[in-house]
């Protein structure tokens, strides 16, 4: 194949209808989030519910101001909901922890005083998950998976933006969290690097089948990355729809169905009165 990274995502095993007693990996139940400014309390999301199942690539999609990043921060345990619950394997999330590793958009998420390898080892050591030797082994394994084995001893400031995000992804995968949380991880990258990172993320998912909660404001990215998309309306964030996107991947970019679905999403997000489509 001419382009080594271009690959076709095989559709994941078909989703079974949720049986009773099947606990979602991550569950949001009527989550209302608020944030405080000096003058007032602003509602970021209003009674948002969704289920992320094991192995899902679940995308939160919406315009800015729909509270999608705040939802992700709540899932990570940085923000406590005003009401409602976020549950991880049935247990309410109350504080941050290494079972929910976040990949942030900003490049300064990597401590600059640690080498690439030490950065990947950091959460493993900080949370006392593994011994130094085991952590080192695992770090090198995942660095190899994201193609940065040669940069293990480099410091983050010598890397490009895309490489830094790869380190952050390797770090998150090495911790083997129950849910991988990604907050617009590719938004600060140039378009070509972003496309490549999406491909790599999908091939990593093919290999490891991790559970992913992914925040984006790009309809195209949501369709490419996700198998399930939650549409949020802005001010405050409310669930507009939940769509299935298993059929779409990088292979279907530009196909008529892809275009149709992205137009449908566009309509859902921006044209309020499309009553026939809003049956969420």
């Amino acid at each position: 194949m001419g382009i080594p990274f271009l690959r076709v995502v095989p559709p994941p095993p078909p989703r079974e209808p949720r049986s009773t007693g099947d606990v979602p990996t991550l569950q949001a139940e009527d989550v209302t989030l608020e944030y405080r400014t000096p003058e007032r309390v602003v509602r970021a999301t209003d009674r948002v519910s969704f289920d992320v199942l094991e192995g899902d690539r679940f995308v939160l999609l919406g315009p800015s101001g729909c509270g999608k990043s705040t939802l992700l921060k709540a899932a990570a345990g940085f923000v406590t909901p005003r009401s409602g619950h976020l549950r991880l394997d049935g247990a309410t999330v109350s504080e941050p922890g290494p079972d929910r590793i976040v990949v942030f958009q900003e490049f300064d998420q990597l401590p600059p005083w640690k080498t690439v390898k030490a950065n990947v080892m950091f959460p493993l050591r900080a949370s006392r998950l593994l011994s130094r030797r085991q952590a080192e082994e695992r770090a090198l394994h995942y660095l190899d998976k994201v193609g940065l084995a040669d940069f293990a001893d480099a410091y983050p400031h010598t890397l490009s933006g895309g490489m830094k995000q790869r380190v952050a992804i390797a770090r998150a995968l090495a911790t083997q969290p129950r849910v991988l949380l990604m907050d617009e991880p590719f938004a600060a990258l140039d378009a070509l690097t972003r496309r490549r990172m999406q491909e790599e993320l999908l091939s990593l998912w093919d290999e490891f089948r991790f559970t992913l909660l992914f925040v984006t404001h790009s309809i195209e990215e949501a369709l490419v990355v996700g198998n399930r998309i939650l549409l949020l309306s802005p001010h405050p964030g409310r669930v507009r729809a939940e769509l299935d996107a298993q059929a779409y991947g990088l292979h279907s970019l530009g196909s008529p169905e892809f275009q149709a679905t992205s137009q449908r999403i566009h309509r859902l997000l921006f044209d309020e009165p499309a009553a026939s489509l809003a049956a969420a």
Binding site: A76, P98, V102, Q109, P112, S127, H157, T158
Partner: protein, 288 residues
């Protein structure tokens, strides 16, 4: 219209370039001038030259000994061991005060990052005591701790603590939010959070604070010894050496004592702090 803009397409094969076409070495002179120590040595030599010329024009050994005379007095002081002995006395007291000041600053700033009351405490204390000259506290310190090292250590802690605490705290506050979240994400909290995230992330500010604290401590110590003489049964430090020689009108030795103060300052700055910065903040790309 568009037809007129049409022109032929083309494709090119790119032959590989050899490495020395892409990267070229700097000439040796430029590379030498890149070294900070070369530039600084040249500056020092120029300053010494100006001093020599000024002293010879003035031609009054009591007021301004020449650079050469001072260098001779300095050499003699080193040779006899007196200068080194005095410097050692000063440094011993200095390091004790410095270390205590660092510990106190760390405790205060850690308190300030973890509680609001701690922050108010740090704010209030630094704005009260930072402008207060350490020398002004010496009379009280002498009352409390007597004529001994205790008084000196007390004023030294005072001169190190506030600037270091201020710098460290402002460093802690400017740690990027993402880095804080990442640290908490790994389950770090309390002292481990401060040690593994805040301290390294704020290291440029902390090193700046350490430098300022060091300079303040030196000034305070020399001044205290100059003003109040020996505090340790005839075993004074460098300040006392300068004071004694001034009384006996050995101006060249006064200058030699001052030169020793400067030399120690340069050594610490260029060896200790520069090494610390090279091994940490520069290597990590946090400071250029």
């Amino acid at each position: 219209m568009t037809a007129s803009l049409a022109r032929p397409e083309y494709e090119r094969d790119l032959p590989p370039l050899s490495a020395d076409e892409v990267v070229q070495p700097l000439p040796p002179a430029a590379r030498l001038w890149q070294q900070a120590w070369v530039r600084k040595t040249v500056l020092l030599l120029v300053l010494a030259g100006l001093w020599e010329v000024a002293a010879r024009l003035k031609a009054n050994d009591l007021l301004l000994p020449t650079f050469v005379d001072t260098a001779i007095a300095f050499g003699q002081g080193l040779w006899s061991g007196e200068l080194l002995h005095r410097a050692g006395m000063s440094l011993a007291v200095l390091l004790r005060g410095y270390a205590l000041g660092i510990v106190a600053a760390f405790v205060l700033t850690t308190l300030a990052t973890s509680t609001r009351l701690g922050r108010d405490l740090l704010d209030t204390l630094t704005s009260m005591f930072n402008p207060l000259p350490a020398i002004a506290l010496l009379p009280i310190a002498l009352l409390w701790f007597g004529l001994g090292q205790g008084s000196l250590v007390f004023v030294l802690v005072h001169s190190v603590l506030w600037p270091l605490a201020l710098n460290t705290y402002s460093g802690f506050r400017s740690v990027p939010e993402t880095l804080r979240l990442a640290g908490r994400n790994y389950g770090l909290r309390g002292l481990r959070y401060v040690l593994f995230i805040l301290v390294p992330a704020a290291l440029p500010a902390i090193v700046a604070g350490l430098k300022i604290g060091w300079a303040f401590a030196w000034r305070t110590l020399i001044a205290a010894e100059l003003v109040f003489g020996t505090t340790n049964s005839g075993q004074g430090g460098l300040g006392w050496y300068i004071f004694q020689n001034r009384n006996e009108l050995y101006t060249d030795r006064v200058f030699a004592g001052l030169a020793m103060v400067i030399a120690i300052g340069l050594l610490v700055e260029n060896l200790v702090f520069a090494t610390l910065e090279r091994a940490t903040v520069r290597r990590w790309g946090m400071q250029r």
